[in-house]
Subunit: 335 residues, 2 copies
C-alpha cells in the first residue's frame, strides 16, 4: 500500500512505468548538445501555422501523437491527460488536445509543469483510478518572448542572468504495467519565496525552492544525494544551479558530482548566446522525454531524481514590483 513517507513524499508501491515518451524541439535546440536525442527537430518556428500560439499547440499535439505511438497506446485507452504550459490560460494545451477525447486535467506549475504532471499522472495510476495516463507540456521561444518580455522585433538586449525559453515539448505515457523506467517516489513542493523580484533572474528566484525540495526528498526517503546517478533540475540554468549547490552545501548536502540542469544541458551555453541557459516548460519536458528517458531505457543510468522548478510570476506582478514565488516538484525514477 502506497504511503506518505516523511513530510512531503509518497512512495508509489505499484511503481507505474513510463512506457513511452517523445520529445520535439525547435531548430536552435536541435543544434545544441542533445540535438541527436530529440525525436523531431522542427526547422520552421511556425510549424506551418499562422501564429506562434498555433505553432506551439501543433508542437505539443504532434508530441503527444509521438508518445502514444512509441508506447503503442490508442487514445481510447488513455484514462487521463495532464497538460499545461506558459501561455496565458494554458491555451497551448487546450487547443492542442481539444480533439483527443481524453479526460483532461489542466495543470499549471510554470517550468515545473512536467514534474507536476508526472506526479499526478503516476498517482492516478497508483491510486487505482487509471490504467494509462499521459502528461505533457511545451514552451515556444517566440510566444513566450511576446507574452512575457518584449516584441521579438525589438531585438532587446538580454541580461547575463536571463534564460532562453526553449522551443520544445515532451510527452510521456504512464502505465500500471509494461516495460519502461518506473516512478518510485513523488516529493511535492511547497512555494518558497525569498524575495527575489528580478524576472530576468529566475534561476536565483527558483534555486531556494529547488533546494527545499531536494533537502526534503532526501530527508523524507533517508537517502543520500549519492544514491542517484543524476540529480537533475530543470531549469535553473547556470546562475540558479550555482546557487542551488551553495544552498545545499550549507545543509551538508553535496550534489556537485551528480547534479545536472536541463537548462544547461539543452544548449551550448558558451556558444549559443543563451546567456544563463534554457528555461520554459518545454526545457525539462524535452530533455527528460528526449534524453534522460533514453538513458534510463537502455540502462546507461540506473536512477534519477528529476526536480522541475517553476517561477510563479506574470508580467503584471513583475511590473507591480512583486516577488517571484517559486516551486519545485521532485520525481524519483528507476531504470
Amino acid at each position: 500500500m502506497t504511503k506518505k513517507i516523511g513530510k512531503q513524499t509518497v512512495e508509489l508501491k505499484s511503481r507505474p512505468a513510463i512506457i513511452g515518451a517523445y520529445a520535439s524541439v525547435g531548430k536552435k535546440e536541435g543544434e545544441g548538445p542533445l540535438g541527436k536525442y530529440f525525436d523531431t527537430v522542427y526547422k520552421d518556428e511556425f510549424l506551418h501555422k499562422k501564429t506562434w500560439e498555433e505553432a506551439e499547440s501543433e508542437l505539443l499535439r504532434q508530441t503527444v501523437f509521438g508518445a502514444a505511438a512509441n508506447a503503442d497506446v490508442r487514445f481510447a485507452d488513455i484514462d487521463y491527460i495532464f497538460a499545461g504550459d506558459l501561455i496565458n490560460q494554458c491555451t497551448t494545451s487546450s487547443f492542442a488536445i481539444k480533439d483527443f477525447g481524453i479526460p483532461f486535467f489542466g495543470i499549471f506549475g510554470a517550468c515545473s509543469t512536467m514534474a507536476e504532471g508526472l506526479s499526478l499522472a503516476s498517482m492516478m495510476i497508483d491510486g487505482g483510478f487509471a490504467k494509462k495516463t499521459v502528461c505533457t507540456t511545451s514552451s515556444h521561444f517566440c510566444g513566450a518572448e511576446k507574452q512575457f518580455r518584449f516584441p521579438l522585433e525589438y531585438g532587446s538586449t538580454r541580461t547575463p542572468t536571463s534564460q532562453w525559453t526553449v522551443t520544445g515539448s515532451g510527452a510521456a505515457v504512464l502505465s500500471e504495467n509494461g516495460e519502461g523506467p518506473k516512478i518510485t517516489h513523488i516529493t511535492t513542493g511547497k512555494i518558497v519565496d525569498l524575495g527575489v523580484s528580478d524576472a530576468n533572474n529566475m534561476g536565483a528566484a527558483m534555486a531556494p525552492a529547488a533546494a527545499d525540495t531536494v533537502f526534503t526528498h532526501l530527508s523524507d526517503t533517508g537517502r543520500e544525494a549519492s544514491f542517484y546517478d543524476m540529480i537533475i533540475t530543470g531549469d535553473l540554468a547556470n546562475t540558479g544551479s550555482t546557487l542551488l549547490c551553495e544552498l545545499l552545501k550549507k545543509q551538508n548536502i553535496d550534489i556537485s558530482k551528480n547534479h545536472y540542469d536541463c537548462g544547461n544541458m539543452i544548449f551550448d551555453t558558451e556558444n549559443q548566446n543563451v546567456k544563463s541557459g534554457g528555461s520554459g516548460c518545454g526545457c525539462c519536458a524535452s530533455v527528460f522525454c528526449g534524453y534522460l528517458y533514453k538513458l534510463l531505457l537502455c540502462k546507461k543510468i540506473k536512477n534519477i531524481l528529476l526536480i522541475a522548478t517553476g517561477a510563479l510570476m506574470n508580467p503584471t506582478s513583475s511590473n507591480q514590483g512583486r516577488t517571484i514565488p517559486s516551486i519545485a516538484h521532485a520525481v524519483a525514477i528507476e531504470a
Copy 2:
C-alpha cells in the same frame, strides 16, 4: 477498492468528507439572493490592498484561513492544496498561498477549477496519498475585466449574452474521515469545442461540454437525472443553461426540474444588471462553499451533482478568431 466505472467516472469507495468550507464574496454578490449564506462579504473591492491583483490574492488567502478554521484543521496537517484562478499564470493563487508551507499543485480549468480541485483533492485522499487536502479558487470582477476585456474606466456596453465575473472565493477542506458531505463520484470532462468563438457568449461555448459530462456521468453510473436533488452547473448563466437543457433533451434526459446554475443563483439577474448571469472561478466556488455546502450539511438536500464548466480561451486566442474549447467536470456529493 475504488474503480473506474464506465468511460470517465470513478467511484470513491472511501467517500472523502468535506469537513469544512468557507466562501467570501464582494459587495454586489453580498447583495444578491445568496448574500446571507456567504461567510464574509467585502464591501471594499480592494480589500485594503493597492491593486486588484493583490486584492484577489487576499480574498483567496482569507478564504482558505476561514475554511481551515471551520474544519478545525492546522495547516501543518494539510497534505496538499490544489488552487488555480483566472489571472494570468494563476498568480492569484500563488501569491495567496505562498507562505502557507503546504505542498501545492497548481491547476487550471478556468471556471471549472473548483470541480477540478474537488476531483483531484478527493482522489488524493481516496488513493491513500493524503489524509487532508484543500481545494480553492477565486475570481475578481475588476481584475478579470482588466485582463480579459476592457479597462473598467471605459464603462463598455455589455452584450445580452455576456456574463459578470463574480468577485468571490471558495475553499473546501477534505478529509479521509470526519463529519461532512461525502464525495462519492468523479466524472472528469474531456474538451468539447463546437466552434463557438464569441467570448461574450461563453454560456453557448460551454453548454455542450456540460451536456457531454452530465450525459456521461449518468450513463457511467446508471443513474437517472432525477436521482439528484440538484444538478448544478457553474456557470452557464441564462443563455448556457437554456442550451444545456435543450441539448440533454435531445438525448432524452430531462433536467428541467432539478437543474440550477451558480451563475443564475448568485445574482438577481433581472435587477442586478449582470446580463446573462455570473461567471468566474469564484462563482461556482462561492456558491458551493457558501450555499450548497450548508444545504448538504443540515441535510436540507440529500445529494447534488456539481458540474463546473470552463471556457479555455484567452484574449489572444479570441482576437485571433479562434474557437473556445470548453470543459466540464462533475462531482457527486452526498449529505
